[in-house]
């Protein structure tokens, strides 16, 4: 659940960008970082290897200011996509209010997409979370590549979107679909504010 502190009038949402290596998760955050007014963005923290692969995770805090009297903050994380960073992915995924699964639209990357999506569901299950209860949006990145290299949205939906969640074609480098994805996952997360509070909170 998004953290809503009514007493201090704060809303904090954690959104995790999940997906296979080199699918464009960090590009999403970098694009958002560039678009956010300086006053509202925290420093984007990125622990990357020399090859520009995410080693641990990226973290981008966003201060959306006062919304309906609530100081609203978003925390955007990416997980390292490489297979061997499994434990780090689980760590970053903890407490996520919403997940963006960034798939690589290239045909030859489909197996990696499927493997990563399976890994996401396993990670959620390991944490005792019903994946169906977590707001999820799929982003089909690299749609700007030549058509013979990539799959279109209907084909990607057929292979990855078995839950019928919102999906967006994107070109994260150019910014196409980046905010659309963020807007949709944020909406799904925030809609849960009015959901009944689980016992024990």
């Amino acid at each position: 659940m998004p953290v809503v502190n009514y007493a201090s009038r704060e809303i904090t949402c954690k959104i995790v960008y999940y997906g296979p290596g080199r699918s464009g998760k960090t590009s999403n955050l970098q694009y958002i970082h560039r678009r956010v007014p300086v006053a509202r963005r925290g420093n984007m923290m990125s622990l990357a290897t020399q090859g520009d692969r995410t080693l641990f995770f990226d973290f981008l805090p966003l201060d959306l200011g006062s919304i309906s009297g609530f100081t609203t903050r978003f925390q955007l994380y990416t997980v390292p996509g490489q297979v061997y960073y499994r434990s780090t992915r689980r760590l970053v995924l903890q407490g996520a209010d919403g997940v963006v699964f960034v798939a690589d639209s290239q045909r030859r990357q489909m197996d990696e997409n499927i493997e990563s999506l399976r890994d996401l569901h396993e990670a959620l299950a390991d944490q005792g979370i019903d994946a169906r209860a977590v707001p999820l949006v799929l982003q089909y990145n690299k749609q700007d590549l030549p058509a013979d290299l990539i799959l279109g949205t209907p084909e990607l939906d057929a292979q990855l979107n078995f839950r019928g969640v919102p999906s967006y074609p994107a070109d994260a480098l150019g910014g196409v679909g980046v905010f659309e994805t963020l807007r949709r996952v944020s909406e799904l997360v925030l809609r849960r504010l009015s959901a009944p509070v689980p016992a024990g909170r």
């Binding site: 009514y6 694009y31 309906s68 590549l145 058509a147 905010f179 509070v197």
Partner: protein, 597 residues
């Protein structure tokens, strides 16, 4: 008339527009025969106008006698209004009814133009009935057009609806090649492909990029065209990626979702929490409701909380006046700890104006134990050892001079000194208690008076039979009694008679006095007074009961017998009349004459 530049030959066909072009060709070849009307939609700059013109030009080529009219909806509206204003509506209609191929662009601009919509509806009906072709274009499908007459929408949807999507890579590359050929320049396939990867939303932007490429390349002839193209695309990405309001649009949307998702009662309660927290009060009572699934009665909750806060403020003000050290104690800031705050004030009051204490001269050790007071002494020992646990209240009764006052004060002194505890003990005669109350009433300080007595750890009132007829004092003793006993404080009372024989004392008090241990204390005989100086071996007294002990047993037996007799409704039972049944035998100490035999 259609723009002569926009022909099918110059329209680059790709997956994104193939269906639209195919339908357009079919319509151009046989107007009115297929797809009537044809509705083409797509975002601006994707070639809708080009396609409409191409239909008109191609149809005119097939049948030069064909009357073709191309208009944007804006122009049609203007012309119709002008005709109406000039009184030429009929001529206008005739002119349009002669048209055999109507090409109407940007029909989204017909929104809310009721008159024009009606006229257009009539025209389309007329044309279709006459087998004339109608082709329309819009930036969105009919179903998404707002402000249009439903009948007109139905007509628009009655033929074929096709869309033109943004061009994909191949189409973009094709468009660029066509442009290259049209301009008579050669920038090379690599540069064109590079350009085709640019993030464009429509064909016009692609034309702009191509023009930019040519311009940049003309400035630096030695540069490779594909390198220039990469730079142009990078610039385009940068420009396109920087719509200034992208983040603000995101924030606006989040704001809309939050305002519709957060329940208003929680917002109001949160404001109340923030207010009281800001004033330094703990808000746990309110916080719990914030996390609850259902809305509480907000008005009542807020009123209760405010009232409790005011009570805490009063308590703190009074306590701080008596003892400045207690000001700011956390209990005065927590509405869940009002009891604790009251206790702090009571203690402050007790320390500031302590209730009457016991006379220090009376001690247990000074009391002569004997058969007539041994039970009372044993009960006193229990009370001192375990106050407020077994015998509460301890009610001592006996005749004047039996030592009740001595024992009561002795208990008070022992409790005060118990384990070195700094207990506050109120020990006073019932008359003094009543006088103190009257003084407090006169001074308007009743609340302080009550708090002072309620702060004590033990209350000892001597001669409670003096409450007789004093209703006001009885009321206060009643409330004080309950308050002390509920909070685990010891109460010791003395009287000349047992509770049941207290005269003019409210039954509710009598029953309370009887609820602990009622024990009699008798007069100590001279012999016993002397005997206390005579060592008696342990257990000797119990082993050889004195005449007093026999008396006691007899009295107990008679009381027990009396307890089995139900009092009559009038209450004048023979057996309950103390004048008729001797339950209290007079002491015969000193009056017994032994006859020497």
């Amino acid at each position: 008339m259609p723009d002569s530049r926009f022909r099918f030959e110059t329209f680059v066909v790709g997956p994104s527009n193939r269906l639209a072009v195919s339908a357009a060709r079919a319509v151009a070849e046989a107007p009115g025969k297929v797809y009537n009307p044809l509705f083409v939609y797509g975002e601006s700059g994707l070639g809708k106008t080009h396609l409409l013109s191409a239909i008109g030009l191609a149809a005119a080529t097939v049948d030069p006698a064909l009357t073709v009219e191309y208009r944007s909806a804006d122009e049609y509206v203007e012309q119709w209004q002008a005709a109406v204003d000039a009184g030429d509506a009929a001529a206008f209609r005739r002119q349009w009814e002669d048209v055999r191929l109507l090409l109407l662009d940007d029909v989204q601009f017909l929104a809310n133009r009721t008159d024009t919509q009606s006229e257009l509806l009539r025209l389309i009906n007329t044309l279709q009935v006459a087998g004339r072709q109608v082709v329309m274009a819009s930036d969105r499908p009919p179903a998404e057009l707002d402000g249009l007459d439903q009948r007109l929408l139905t007509r628009m949807s009655g033929g074929l609806i096709v869309d033109i999507a943004p061009p994909e890579f191949e189409t973009r590359a094709g468009i660029l090649r066509a442009l290259e050929a049209d301009r008579g320049v050669a920038v090379g396939e690599a540069a064109l492909e590079e350009l085709a990867r640019a993030p464009i939303a429509n064909v016009r932007e692609l034309h702009g990029l191509f023009n930019r490429l040519l311009a940049q390349h003309s400035l630096s002839r030695e540069a490779q065209p594909d390198g220039v193209a990469r730079a142009v695309v990078a610039r385009a990405r940068e420009e396109r990626a920087a719509p200034p309001d992208e983040f603000e649009a995101f924030v606006s949307e989040v704001a809309a979702v939050v305002s519709s998702s957060v329940e208003q009662w929680r917002v109001r309660l949160a404001a109340t929490v923030a207010r009281w927290a800001g004033e330094g009060f703990r808000t746990g009572l309110l916080d719990r409701h914030l996390d609850a699934p259902d809305a509480p009665d907000l008005d009542a909750l807020e009123a209760r909380f405010a009232s409790t806060v005011n009570r805490l403020r009063d308590l703190e003000r009074e306590a701080a006046r008596l003892d400045p050290r207690v000001a700011g104690v956390s209990a005065f800031r927590d509405p869940e700890r009002v009891d604790e705050a009251e206790t702090i004030l009571q203690r402050a009051l007790a320390a500031y104006d302590p209730p009457p204490a016991a006379s220090p001269h009376f001690t247990i050790e000074n009391l002569a134990p004997g058969v007539r007071n041994q039970l009372a002494l044993r009960a006193a020992g229990e009370v001192i050892a375990l106050p407020a646990t077994r015998y509460n209240p301890l009610y001592l009764h006996g005749p004047s001079g039996a030592g009740k006052t001595h024992l009561a004060h002795a208990i008070a002194n022992a409790l005060a000194a118990r384990d070195g505890a700094s207990w506050t003990i109120a020990c006073l005669d019932c008359s003094a208690f009543s006088e103190d109350l009257i003084d407090a009433l006169r001074a308007g300080a009743l609340e302080r008076w009550r708090l002072r007595y309620r702060a004590v750890d033990a209350l000892v009132i001597d001669n409670v039979d003096r409450l007789a007829g004093n209703d006001r004092s009885q009321d206060e003793v009643f409330y004080l009694f309950d308050a002390l006993r509920e909070s685990g404080r010891q109460i010791v009372l003395t009287a000349g008679v047992p509770p049941a024989r207290l005269r003019a004392v409210a039954p509710r008090l009598v029953s309370r006095f009887e609820s602990g241990l009622v024990v009699e204390i008798g007069l100590v005989s001279d012999a016993e007074a002397v005997a206390r100086h005579t060592p008696v071996p342990d257990g000797a007294e119990a082993a050889a009961p004195t005449i007093d002990a026999w008396f006691d047993e007899a009295v107990d037996d008679s009381r027990e017998a009396a307890s089995y007799i139900e009092p009559t409704a009038t209450g004048d039972s023979f057996f309950l009349d103390p004048e008729k049944v001797i339950t209290e035998w007079p002491s015969i100490d000193g009056r017994l004459v032994e006859e020497p035999r």
